[in-house]
C-alpha cells in the first residue's frame, strides 16, 4: 500500500500550483520540498544503515555556500602568498560543484568517522557540523561571516529553444525542487533495492554477521554517506539560489533536528517515511503560525518527537502498513507475509 505514496505525492504536488496562488503557501511548499530532500538523504544513513548522523546540516550548508560562491565569485588570500580569485559563474555550475564537493566531504567524513560507532559517531558528526559553522562565521574574506552572502542569482537552466532561462518566479522554483526531489527519491529507491542496499541493511541488522559474509562495512557506509551528503548538498544549492541570501545560520543544529524529526516521524528505513514526515513537519509551521509564537512551535515539535518515539517508535508509515495488514481477510495473510517481513526491521 505504502509504495503508492510516492507516485501519489508526485502527482498531487505537480498539480498543487495550478490551484494555489497564495505566494506564502507556495514559499512554504518550496522550503518543505528542500527540507524533504534533506530528510530523504538523511534517511539513507539513519534509516537504512542505522547510523545516527546529527551533522547532516553541514552538507546542506556547504552545498549552499559552494553554489552561492561559484555564482557570485570570490577573492581570498591563503597562507604562503597563495591567492584564489574566481570571477563568478553560472548557478548551474554551482549546483554541479555543490553536489560534487559535498559528496567529497561526505566521503572524507565517512572515512574518518565510521571508525567509531554509536554515541561516538553521533558526537563526531555534531562536532563536524559545528566546526564548519564556525569556519563560515569566521572566514569573513570568503563567506562575509555574519554579514551573509547576498544577491545570490537565481538558478539558470538551459532550455532547448529558449536559451538560458533564469528561474525567477516561485512557480519555476517549485517545479525545480519537485524535480530534484523526484530524482533523489528514484536514486534512493534503486539503491535500496540493489545488492548494495541489502549490504546496508545487513550492516544495520547485524554488523558482525554482515562482516562475516564478506560485506566491507567501512566502504558500504562511506558510499552511503557520500550519496547522502551529495543529495543534501543539492538541496543546499537549491535553497541558496531560491532564498538568495545565506548566512552561517544555515548550519544551525535546529535544521538537523528538523530533518531527524521528519525521518523518525515518517518512519526511518522506509522509502515513503521521509516524504510523509517531511510534508507533515514542513507544513506544520504554516498551520501553527497563526496560533502561536515560534518558541512555542518548537515546544510542540519537541513534544511531538517524544510522543512519536513513545507511541509509534517505528514511525507513521510502518504503523500504517501494519494497520493495513491487520485489516486484510485471513485468506490473504500468506501473500501479506512478505511485506510484513520487509517492514519488520526494528
Amino acid at each position: 500500500m505504502t509504495r503508492f505514496i510516492a507516485p501519489l505525492f508526485l502527482v498531487v504536488f505537480a498539480l498543487v500550483p495550478l490551484g494555489l496562488k497564495d505566494p506564502y503557501l507556495l514559499n512554504a511548499l518550496i522550503i518543505t520540498g528542500i527540507l524533504t530532500i534533506c530528510a530523504m538523504s538523511l534517511n539513507l544513513l539513519l534509516g537504512f544503515t542505522g547510523q545516527l548522523s546529527l551533522g547532516h546540516v553541514a552538507f546542506f550548508g556547504i552545498g549552499a555556500y559552494v553554489s552561492a560562491l561559484t555564482a557570485l565569485g570570490f577573492d581570498v588570500s591563503l597562507p604562503f602568498g597563495l591567492r584564489i580569485t574566481h570571477e563568478g559563474g553560472s548557478p548551474l555550475l554551482g549546483f554541479v560543484l555543490a553536489v560534487g564537493l559535498t559528496g567529497l566531504c561526505g566521503y572524507l567524513i565517512g572515512r574518518l568517522s565510521f571508525r567509531v560507532r554509536g554515541a561516538y559517531f553521533v558526537i563526531v558528526t555534531i562536532s563536524f557540523a559545528e566546526v564548519v559553522r564556525l569556519v563560515a562565521l569566521n572566514w569573513v574574506e570568503l563567506t562575509q561571516g555574519p554579514l551573509a552572502l547576498t544577491a545570490i542569482p537565481n538558478m539558470v537552466l538551459p532550455v532547448p529553444g529558449l536559451g538560458d532561462v533564469a528561474l525567477r518566479s516561485k512557480m519555476q522554483n517549485y517545479y525545480l525542487v519537485l524535480a530534484v526531489a523526484a530524482v533523489s527519491y528514484l536514486i534512493i529507491a534503486r539503491l535500496v533495492a540493489s545488492r548494495f542496499g541489502r549490504a546496508m541493511r545487513g550492516l544495520k541488522e547485524n554488523e558482525s554477521l554482515a562482516l562475516s559474509l564478506g560485506i566491507n562495512a567501512t566502504r558500504t557506509l562511506t558510499v552511503a554517506a557520500t550519496i547522502s551528503a551529495a543529495m543534501a548538498g543539492a538541496a543546499g544549492s537549491l535553497y541558496a539560489h531560491y532564498i538568495r541570501i545565506i548566512d552561517p545560520d544555515v548550519f544551525l543544529f535546529s535544521y538537523t533536528v528538523t530533518m531527524v524529526i521528519m525521518v523518525v516521524s515518517g518512519g526511518k528505513g522506509t522509502l515513503a517515511g521521509p516524504l510523509v514526515g517531511g510534508i507533515l513537519f514542513g507544513l506544520l509551521p504554516v498551520a501553527l503560525r497563526p496560533v502561536m509564537a515560534p518558541e512555542a512551535q518548537w515546544i510542540v515539535y519537541g513534544a511531538i518527537l517524544i510522543a512519536i518515539l513513545f507511541l509509534m517508535p517505528r514511525g507513521i508509515v510502518p504503523a500504517l502498513e501494519s494497520l493495513a495488514l491487520r485489516r486484510r481477510p485471513a485468506t490473504e495473510t500468506k501473500s501479506a507475509a512478505k511485506p510484513a517481513e520487509a517492514g519488520a526491521n526494528p
Binding site: G50, V122, S127, V264, I299, G302
Partner: protein, 290 residues
C-alpha cells in the same frame, strides 16, 4: 610571561566549571548508557534558577546557589522518571532522540518564558579584582573555582565513600548482577540522572553570575561537556575532571595566541582529534568508574 600566567589562571577558573559539566554527563552515560542531550538545557536551567532565586525571590547569593542546585536535582529526577524510565529497554538512539526532544522543549520554554534578553545576576563580591603581582583575579571567579572544586570533591566522596556510591558503581559494572544483589537499579538510575543534572545546574548557577544568563547559554556548554567527556573517556569521572581542565587550557591559550574567533572551535577540534587517534578517550577505564 605575565600574559601567560594570566591565561593559566583564567583556564584554572574555567576548568573547574567545565569539569562539573563533564562529570555530570559522563556519570549519566557511564551508568545509564544515555547520551544526555538535555545537559545544556539543565545548565541553562541552573542559571535561570539562580536568577529567579537571587533576583525574583531576593534570596541571599549563598542561599540561592544551593536552591538552584536542588532545583536541578529535582528536575533531573523528574526527567528520568517520566521520560527515561519507560524507555529502559529501548536502544541508545531512541533515548538520544527523546533527550533531544526534551532539550528542545526546555530551551524553547526558557526563551518563551523569559524572552531572549540576557539577565544579570548580582553578586555580593567586590567588583575590584584581587591583584597578585602581575596577574589579577576577580573575587567572584575565585569563589566559582572554590565552589566547583568543593562540588567535585563531594561527588567523588558520594561515589567512592557512600552506600549509594557503591550501588552506583555496582550498577555500572553489571546492572543485572547488581539487581540480584538487592540493589534497586531503578532508584540508582533516578539518583544518577538527578546528580548529573544537579551538577549541570550548579555549573550554570555558578557561571550565570560571572557572565549573564541567556536561553542559549546551554548550547555551547553542552558541546563542551561532550568534548570533555570524550577527552576523558565516556564514563570516567577522573577523566572528565582532567578533560575539563585540558579543554579550558586549550581554549584559553588558543584564544590568546591563535585566534579568539575559533575559541569555541577548540572543543570540537579536540573531539574530532581524540576520536580519530584514540576513540576510547585519553583516560578510559572501561571496567569501573570513580
Amino acid at each position: 610571561m605575565d600574559q601567560l600566567l594570566q591565561h593559566i589562571l583564567n583556564a584554572l577558573v574555567l576548568g573547574g566549571t567545565y569539569a562539573l559539566l563533564g562529570i555530570g554527563l559522563t556519570l549519566i552515560f557511564g551508568i545509564m548508557n544515555v547520551v544526555n542531550f538535555t545537559h545544556g538545557a539543565l545548565y541553562t536551567f541552573g542559571g535561570y534558577a539562580m536568577y529567579l532565586a537571587a533576583v525574583a525571590l531576593g534570596l541571599n547569593f549563598f542561599v540561592a546557589l544551593p536552591v538552584a542546585l536542588v532545583a536541578g536535582l529535582l528536575l533531573g529526577a523528574f526527567i528520568e522518571f517520566t521520560l527515561l524510565r519507560p524507555l529502559r529497554r529501548s536502544d541508545i538512539d531512541t533515548t538520544m532522540l527523546v533527550m533531544i526532544g526534551a532539550g528542545i522543549i526546555m530551551q524553547s520554554g526558557t526563551l518563551w518564558i523569559f524572552g531572549g534578553v540576557a539577565k544579570a545576576v548580582p553578586t555580593p563580591f567586590p567588583a575590584q579584582p584581587l591583584v597578585i603581582g602581575p596577574v589579577s583575579l576577580s573575587y567572584v571567579n575565585l569563589f566559582v573555582l572554590a565552589a566547583a572544586i568543593a562540588l567535585i570533591a563531594i561527588t567523588y566522596f558520594t561515589i567512592n565513600g557512600t552506600r549509594l556510591g557503591r550501588a552506583m558503581r555496582a550498577t555500572f559494572q553489571d546492572h543485572d548482577t547488581a539487581a540480584l544483589m538487592g540493589v534497586n537499579v531503578s532508584l540508582i538510575y533516578t539518583a544518577t540522572f538527578a546528580i548529573g543534572s544537579a551538577l549541570a545546574a550548579a555549573a550554570g548557577a555558578l557561571l550565570g553570575p560571572v557572565y549573564v544568563v541567556t536561553p542559549q547559554m546551554g548550547e555551547l556548554a553542552a558541546v563542551k561537556a561532550f568534548a570533555i567527556v570524550i577527552l576523558g573517556g565516556l564514563g570516567s569521572i577522573s577523566g572528565a575532571t582532567i578533560g575539563g581542565f585540558i579543554l579550558a587550557f586549550a581554549e584559553e591559550l588558543g584564544a590568546g595566541y591563535i585566534s579568539s574567533g575559533y575559541r569555541d572551535a577548540m572543543g570540537f577540534l579536540i573531539i574530532i582529534a581524540v576520536l580519530l587517534v584514540k576513540p576510547t578517550g585519553l583516560f578510559a577505564r572501561a571496567e569501573r568508574i570513580g
